[in-house]
Symmetry: C2
Subunit: 195 residues, 2 copies
DNA sequence: TCTTTACTTGACTCCATAGTCAAGAAATAT
DNA sequence: ATATTTCTTGACTATGGAGTCAAGTAAAGA
């Protein structure tokens, strides 16, 4: 009855779904800047249709980014929650985020981006920031993590890692990992007897 | 007499000099990927002339890169040589290289090794690598720098920093500096009593 | 079935950059 | 002063991606 409001035509509906799916696949692999033609090709549709249905890259990202990213990030948060030692919990969080940035270009883009659109994503990011801030505070309370480290530093350390991950294309994963461990260990309170 | 061999015409000579100068200025400011049209404009010459005289970007870079970069790098090496404490010397070297990467986009491009050509530059880079390796070894001999750190790690830490510096455009210098200190401190031997 | 309306298409424009080249301009040689 | 040679130019092609739209196609409604 009243449900007929603004219903898409059958083919349009099919296409919207196809495009969403294609965008998920393509973005997952290549990040959020992959040319839209590739998405179109993957969806078996012309580029025009994407613009028509989603209004361009930003719209498409908005339509897809939550499915693409949210569960990774909240997954990390909950998985880390289980760790009891505050320092270990904090470090584990950072490690997982940093690996996510390497493994998932799209998630990395989200973590890097201004991403002005997409309200739920903004919420998620803020949530994650608060979470990270809390972990940091708790870890610092043990005295084993430097207390000159601010939540802002944390954000920027993640930003830097993202920039690196983006450029790492060819670099092997374990080298990336090996190197971020150095930074991680630099966040611990230095031993007192330093020259 | 025999000196007349392969002499450029007066205007050509003037242009070559003008272009070199312009390239120095423009590359210094914007790095080695600045559009050649900008160099041409700065030299008051058409793009075609640059291609004609230098054979393209690579040729132009070759003609300019030594003046643009060599003295910075060798300057750092000699200035650091004066420091007596091996650890301080090693760390000071890294700090200076990392700041150079922030301050001088062109030097950064060179350190990132976009440049297969240019023999003297390659030599310089190898020289610097050996130098850094030596500093590392000496610093490790004190026991105060982690001994699992390899010269290769060092190279990649510089590479990573360069990637960051490139993206840092808007970021303030002191934040950049602040953050690389964390990594630096992560290179020191950790205190024994860990967890 | 035919009409109406919603949808899709691909060819088009636009932008920024790399790189080329025929024709005109300028220096040099005589 | 003219012929010769060397240079320079700017308009041209090519690339790769964003974004648009008139015209054609297909679904829905009668």
């Amino acid at each position: 009855m009243t449900e007929t409001r603004s219903r898409l035509r059958a083919d349009a509906q099919r296409n919207v779904e196809g495009i969403r799916q294609a965008a998920l696949d393509v973005f997952r692999l290549g990040g959020l800047n992959t040319p839209l033609d590739e998405v179109a090709r993957a969806a078996g549709v012309s580029k025009g249709t994407i613009y028509h249905r989603f209004g361009g890259r930003q719209g498409l990202i908005d339509a897809v980014v939550t499915d693409l990213v949210a569960e990774y990030i909240s997954g990390i948060m909950t998985s880390v929650e289980a760790i009891t030692d505050p320092v270990e919990r904090f470090e584990s969080y950072l490690r997982k985020i940093w690996l996510l940035q390497y493994d998932e270009p799209a998630s990395n883009d989200v973590l890097l981006r201004a991403l002005p659109g997409s309200e739920p994503l903004t919420t998620l990011c803020e949530h994650a920031s608060e979470f990270a801030g809390r972990l940091l505070g708790e870890a610092q309370a043990t005295g084993r993590i430097r207390d000159d480290l601010t939540p802002d530093d944390l954000y920027l350390l993640i930003w830097e890692r993202g920039i690196i991950a983006r450029a790492c294309d060819q670099q092997p994963r374990d080298g990336y990992q090996r190197r971020f461990e150095y930074t991680l260990s630099g966040l611990r309170t230095p031993s007192v007897a330093s020259v």
